[in-house]
């Protein structure tokens, strides 16, 4: 027990802990608290499993960001959502193909809902404002939401 802090050390550590908390602006804490409103325990999460821009970024060599199409894949327990981002639209397909609706949610502003056709295809035109996420309600009953997407 020889390492137990003496009073001076404990008080100094407490000072540091309290100051670290006081340094944080109230709005910063507020932002964190408010985010919980996005918590959705009913939909399953579709995780990002592929991002074409990672392939390029990892190389970090050439400025190849002019490549106009970015491809992303999100996968949940029951379905995948494949996305292609072009200059003016967001195109996607649900795998396995099935009908349904898909909603693009942005943090500010209203959500946009669009139909998913029989082969699982859908499009948003224009591309939703970043960051956004997609909430898919498939006809077969699966309810999945992607992680937030920043393009």
């Amino acid at each position: 027990m020889s390492d137990r802090w003496d009073d001076g050390r404990l008080l100094a550590a407490l000072r540091e802990a309290i100051r670290a908390r006081q340094a944080v602006p109230a709005e910063f804490i507020e932002t964190g608290r408010n985010v919980y409103a996005w918590h959705n325990i009913d939909a399953e999460l579709a995780q990002l499993t592929y991002d074409s821009s990672h392939d390029r970024a990892e190389g970090a060599s050439v400025r190849s960001e002019t490549a106009s199409i970015r491809a992303l894949t999100f996968t949940s327990a029951h379905l995948s959502i494949e996305l292609e981002v072009t200059e003016d639209a967001l195109l996607g397909q649900i795998i396995p193909p099935q009908e349904g609706t898909i909603e693009a949610q942005t943090r500010a502003g209203p959500a946009t809902v669009t139909e998913v056709d029989q082969v699982g295809c859908f499009s948003f035109d224009p591309v939703p404002a970043s960051p956004f996420r997609l909430h898919c309600r498939a006809a077969e009953g699966t309810d999945a939401v992607t992680g937030w997407i920043t393009l």
């Binding site: 390492d3 008080l11 407490l14 000072r15 340094a23 325990i41 999460l45």
Partner: protein, 202 residues
């Protein structure tokens, strides 16, 4: 990493829909997220952006965290990644700015590790402090904001001579707090190693 059942409980409760548990997680770890953002010298707008993204990622991962006890590390890494993303985006938008190919500065892994250790230690200290009786909290608050004994004596209406003994009693009480078990004895000695043995190559 230290096994912290409390974080695990908070994560589980927040994942189950309990907003109070979520708020507690934010309260605990926001100082670490903030501190990492300031290390990257982000603008307040960018800090806001990073913090939104970090907490949103946490909210979406709540039910999927493989090891909730490792949450502080996860948050630190996510914050770091978000800071770098924001910095890279800023550079891309500013043609007059950085030289092509220049990467934003990455923080040393040791710095991040230190942030994580400090975050856990500070959260434990604040929790132990919050448990103290009101008179102890008042006294210690005044002591850490560098009030003199005579000011403390006037404001708290206690004799100067009793400040020392009260300070000792309050600190002893804090030291016995369950929140600090494991911190006071080992974590800290790891953070501030005693100078044992020779320094290599003077």
């Amino acid at each position: 990493m230290r096994d912290d059942p409390d974080v695990v409980t908070l994560v589980t409760r927040a994942a189950g829909g309990e907003a109070a548990a979520w708020n507690e997680l934010v309260e605990r770890y926001a100082p670490m997220v903030w501190s990492i953002c300031t290390r990257y010298r982000l603008s307040s707008h960018d800090i806001e952006d990073v913090s939104q993204n970090v907490w949103l990622r946490l909210v979406e991962q709540l039910g999927n965290l493989r090891e909730p006890a490792a949450l502080p590390g996860w948050l630190a890494t996510t914050t770091q990644r978000e800071c770098l993303r924001v910095l890279r985006a800023a550079r891309r938008c500013d043609p007059s700015g950085a030289e092509p190919g220049e990467q934003p500065p990455d923080l040393d892994a040791a710095v991040i590790e230190q942030e994580i250790i400090m975050a856990e230690r500070n959260a434990a200290l604040r929790a132990a402090f919050a448990e103290l009786p009101p008179h102890c909290r008042k006294l210690l608050s005044m002591l850490i904001s560098d009030h003199s004994y005579s000011e403390i004596s006037t404001i708290l209406e206690i004799p100067i001579g009793s400040i020392g003994p009260q300070r000792a009693r309050c600190l002893e009480r804090m030291r016995r707090s369950g929140f600090l078990a494991g911190f006071i004895d080992d974590e800290i000695t790891r953070t501030q190693p005693k100078a044992v043995g020779g320094e290599p190559g003077e």
